[in-house]
């Protein structure tokens, strides 16, 4: 069959019929440099009280990271993936949300959960060998910490979508690392979010490494924020150590989502000051000078300099923040020193709403074993 047999076929030197430019990519593309507030003059526009609150949260967060790391040395935590150096992102993620919103942290983001109100001990159960999620996700609207990378992103999309369908005013903010952006789930989640116009904000903390693998082996993109345009959502690039900038960008994105504008992808450029976890040896894959350069760009120092310069933070406020942080740390230390009591019989309690006959048999077997042990 040649063309003659295809009815209606004729010459048409025009773009293919169904094709039209779908959207203008220009506004979706991120700035060419990470957005900053501190030291740029833009900070003058900022709400001083908020800035002081963020400062206190950063100080508390830094202390929390230090305390949790110390707990690994004392054997009270099996492992701790520290967010030291990334506190601006962790804190801003929590603070940018309203009460009814949901946070979807990755395994590194216990601090964000804590900053949102989760009890620090409950946030750490997973990491001390206790139950996988120590808190009820509904209480503070914080999903369980997600260990399989990027898998929490579609959850955030689904939850936000469900809330929107129900007519509820709920935004979900999902956190993921630079390494996690390579996973298929990252792609699928962003795509669903954009197609559904779900009220979600994706925060990528680009801390330069996925365990030992540097960003250059993870992606060849101009920036991770550039991925946004491929989904038809805006991408924002922000200095992840500038808490005012991260807070502003996230707040904008949350507002946009809340208003029905759909999802945003935010890449926060930051750095993991500590090793991947206490079990990791970072000297195997990175040099001191790189770490030193980043210590110079510390989120707390950046903020303190700005606030002090503007007369918004005095010695007393710094001291107060420090004291509050110490108090939190002392409480954490003390409560983590108590040996948790886990009931082995609970192993069978939550697999299903009702244990299956098979689980009831197994439960009886363990019960008998424990009774025999106790009797012996």
């Amino acid at each position: 069959m040649t063309v003659q047999e295809l009815p209606g076929a004729s010459y048409r030197p025009s773009p293919p019929p169904a094709w039209k430019p779908r959207t203008d990519p220009e506004p979706l593309l991120p700035d060419r440099e990470p957005y900053r507030v501190l030291g740029t003059g833009a900070a003058a526009r900022f709400d001083g009280a908020l800035a002081v609150r963020l400062h206190a949260e950063l100080v508390r967060g830094r202390r929390y990271n230090a305390q949790a790391t110390a707990l690994t040395k004392q054997g009270r935590l099996a492992v701790y993936p520290s967010s030291t150096g990334q506190e601006a992102c962790e804190v801003a993620a929590a603070v940018a949300l309203q009460d009814q919103d949901w946070l979807f942290p990755s395994y590194r983001d216990t601090l964000a959960a804590v900053a949102r109100g989760v009890d620090p001990v409950q946030a750490l159960t997973l990491l001390r060998g206790d139950w996988h999620s120590g808190y009820d996700p509904r209480e503070h609207r914080v999903a369980p910490l997600s260990t399989p990378l990027a898998t929490q992103l579609p959850h955030a999309v689904g939850l936000a979508h469900a809330a929107r369908l129900k007519g509820d005013d709920v935004v979900a903010l999902a956190m993921v690392g630079d390494g996690g952006t390579s996973e298929g789930d990252f792609h699928e989640a962003l795509n669903f979010a954009a197609v559904w116009k779900a009220p979600v904000v994706f925060l990528v903390q680009n801390n330069g490494f996925a365990i030992s693998v540097p960003l250059a082996k993870q992606t060849a993109a101009p920036s991770l924020a550039h991925k946004a345009v491929g989904y038809g959502m805006p991408g924002r690039l922000v200095d992840g150590n500038d808490v005012l900038a991260v807070h502003e960008v996230l707040t904008d994105a949350v507002r946009r989502a809340r208003a029905g504008g759909g999802p945003t992808l935010v890449e926060a450029v930051t750095y993991r000051i500590d090793a991947h976890t206490n079990a990791d040896d970072a000297t195997r894959y990175r040099g001191d000078t790189e770490v030193a350069a980043w210590r110079e760009h510390d989120p707390i120092a950046l903020l303190e300099h700005e606030l002090t310069g503007r007369g918004l933070l005095d010695e007393g406020a710094v001291r107060a923040a420090k004291d509050a942080a110490e108090e939190m740390a002392a409480g954490l230390r003390e409560r983590m020193n108590a040996d948790p009591v886990l009931d082995p019989m609970e192993l069978f309690a939550h697999v299903y709403a009702e244990p299956t006959p098979q689980l009831r048999e197994q439960r009886a077997m363990l019960r008998a074993e424990l009774d025999a042990e106790a009797g012996a």
């Binding site: 996700p137 579609p154 959850h155 469900a162 989640a189 669903f192 697999v351 299903y352 709403a353």
Partner: protein, 337 residues
Amino acid sequence: MTTVAQKAAKPATMAQALGRALRDAMAEDPTVHVMGEDVGTLGGVFRITDGLTKEFGEDRCTDTPLAEAGILGTAVGMAMYGLRPVVEMQFDAFAYPAFEQLISHVARMRNRTRGAMPLPITVRVPYGGGIGGVEHHSDSSEAYYIATPGLHVVTPATVEDAYGLLRASIASDDPVVFLEPKRLYWSKAEWSPDAPAAVEPIGRAVVRRTGRSATLITYGPSLPVCMEAAEAARTEGWDLEVVDLRSLVPFDDETVCASVRRTGRAVVVHESGGFGGPGGEIAARITERCFHHLEAPVLRVAGFDIPYPPPMLERHHLPGVDRILDAVARLQWEAEN
């Protein structure tokens, strides 16, 4: 659990019963949402979801982007917010991209959160062969699901069960992998869509045919084959009992063992590959429980341990009446091994 008075029955297909179950569940419970590839406008490639978008709107029955992990992953989030998603995987093998979500989250969220966050998700998977499907369209993937604690695994073999078990699965507060035997989609039975029978809880096997010589234990697509084999066996002088498991997880040890203790002999029949398939589990647990009642080892008739074959050869792969009867014949065997 819903009980409705029986009304006049007329012939219906399993596909119709499944569609009706979805419709009724959606009508009764506004939190039930159907989602998947082509489930909306098209009504699904098997037309199970036909009409749902029209009746309930695109938000209740949604054509998703083409990404199975994304479908199941977003369903997790929707369930976390209180919805009851019913997810369609277009074919057995196209559920594989969603495995990580299924194993690492769907099956574990309740346990992880110590009961705080159950996930009432139903994952519908058309499965099995016998329809002349091209590669990846005929897998029996139940072995993967039953080895994943936290999931219920359910599969109907009759029109009535298709309705009842799907309703029960959607009503369950736990995730259910609902395996639909695709070659039975067009099987028919007298069944009244307007008056479906009581919805039983999942987990109960049923004796489809009583007999005294031996028990055939099966489920899903192999039930009709076993019924046929039992009929044929009569001419050989065997009176076979046939048990339809209906639910692989939970497993109904009681019904199965009661039958085997009565007959003293059993053959497990399924399409899924033999090695590492459900039959091993079933045979092992029967033996553990009924050893001294057994006159012969529990035998298995299963698909070969090969990737699903080209359709032109599938009849050699699928358990058929002859192969079942051969196995029954071997139940008499008392040799030196």
